[in-house]
Subunit: 344 residues, 2 copies
Amino acid sequence: MTDNDYMQLAIAEAKKGLGLTSPNPAVGSVIVKNGEILGKGWHRKAGLPHAEREAIADALTRHEKSTLRGATIYVTLEPCSTTGKTPACVDGIIEAGIAKVIYGATDPNPAHVGGADAMLKKHQIKVVSGVERVACESLIQAFAKRITTGLPWVIAKTAVSLDGRITRPSGEGQWLTGPEARAEVHKIRASVDAIITGGKTVRKDNPSLTIRGEAHSAEKSQPWRVILTQSGKSSLPQDANVFTDEHAERTIIHEDKTLTQTLKALAELGCNSVMLECGGILMQQFLKQQLIDELALFIAPIFTGGPDHGFGIGEHLDHSQFLTNNSHQQLGNDILIRGILKKS
Amino acid sequence: MTDNDYMQLAIAEAKKGLGLTSPNPAVGSVIVKNGEILGKGWHRKAGLPHAEREAIADALTRHEKSTLRGATIYVTLEPCSTTGKTPACVDGIIEAGIAKVIYGATDPNPAHVGGADAMLKKHQIKVVSGVERVACESLIQAFAKRITTGLPWVIAKTAVSLDGRITRPSGEGQWLTGPEARAEVHKIRASVDAIITGGKTVRKDNPSLTIRGEAHSAEKSQPWRVILTQSGKSSLPQDANVFTDEHAERTIIHEDKTLTQTLKALAELGCNSVMLECGGILMQQFLKQQLIDELALFIAPIFTGGPDHGFGIGEHLDHSQFLTNNSHQQLGNDILIRGILKKS
């Protein structure tokens, strides 16, 4: 097993926390000594112990405290060096007698970066950073965006026909995509902290915007449901699902805010990531303002025609925006294209 | 080797003729005796020998005439029983002393179907049909459509952005897709007999609509280039590539014809298959009139916005049209979705 292999185990630990830890990032950790894995851990929820302390605690359930002396700890993110809701992880590492710290991504907070290295080295603990850096940075991309810009990571999700439409001819069913694609949407919802939609979508489709089915878990709070409207709450149907179901307290109305104001407010609420599930007009506004970070585009094998385009109609963007790190997969009869938007 | 295995060899022979044989279909044949392949052949061009006669001739280059006695011939399509430009294949099979005929697809012409069976059986030749039928029918789908409807098989090809547009913001390059996708377009061109475009596309993009690069071969005539216009030839730029290049005699202008009239005229010209390479307005007309049989949709990983939608704007179709037998593949950074349209 190489350092990269152990870091991959730490990444697997971190992934268990994806979608659960905001405003914190998902972090995983593994403690190794002489090729033996002494303990593993991941950050479960803001306010609960960080991944390093979880891994140390896990190790101590099966090993003497002395066994940890001289061990190496792998962490996907630079350990915290300041006390927040929980004590600094660096102190825990020093106390445990760990001899070497290997981490993947550096702390995206410019005020914290490098803090761990200095403190650890002062205690003769070796520090290596950047192992599996790309994968480790990917784990914290939403958190990093919020920390560095004050805006959450924005995932645009939509399902379109082959001709780019989002509605079918009248008299046909509501759905473009099949059950596999719709199950995937719930998985994406389970990875975010808020879902943004428009008043028009609430009026027309009456969506629930909740995590349901297999994607639902007891550990995950339902995402905030944020309804953007320019015509006031009274213009929305008061019996809509988002106002009347058991998660009604998770519904927020934003009236006459700019998109950036809405995103900033959600970041301040502790949202690392938000998902757009809205019609083409609103989608296009986010696109034009270069506010979309990631795309989840479902394409259904159907031609529909009709006035409802997934990304609106109108003028060219100022500049094309390119999808990078893109991948595609078949889900039932539908295709899902994902990727990260490179803005000009 | 089973009958299906030998038929697959015949299918591989037939495929060598795809795109070259109109108004005839692509057909392949293999002659087998005691597990030995005596000869193989494919139909190369209308007016040249059919696949069965090619296979017999091939066998006779290496074997005595007597060796063919008692052999089995595999053909992808029911052998012809009437004399056209070339003598009936059934006669050739009888003359060669072949004992058994195994074919895949039946003749789509209702006047011919079953003709071979009757004549062959009269000569004590065994006949089996329907081996690898689906694959064999797929080889002749364009021919079969023309024979049964008087219209050619229509492949709609377009390349769109993630938001369904076909043009980029001004000042950027012309292309949405990369070189791999564009090379694939030439391969599709090499499989059809005509390319239909609109006057607007000629005016705006000045396309050549020729087969170029690796897809080009000496055996394949350049497809007809058919320009649909409602404003007369004089409205088209007389110095456009389609009027001035070395294939200018392959350019046809259709003025004020309905789409069905255009397709019918191309069928009468001997076109089994045509390809649409046009803007969204014309594409949508073909779609609305349920004239599209097959789709080749390239999706580029780019958002552009803009007024030019790949499939136009406007009302819903009367009914959704579904893509069946669909597949997708990555070509460079682009995705190609192909499939056959099931019309209501």
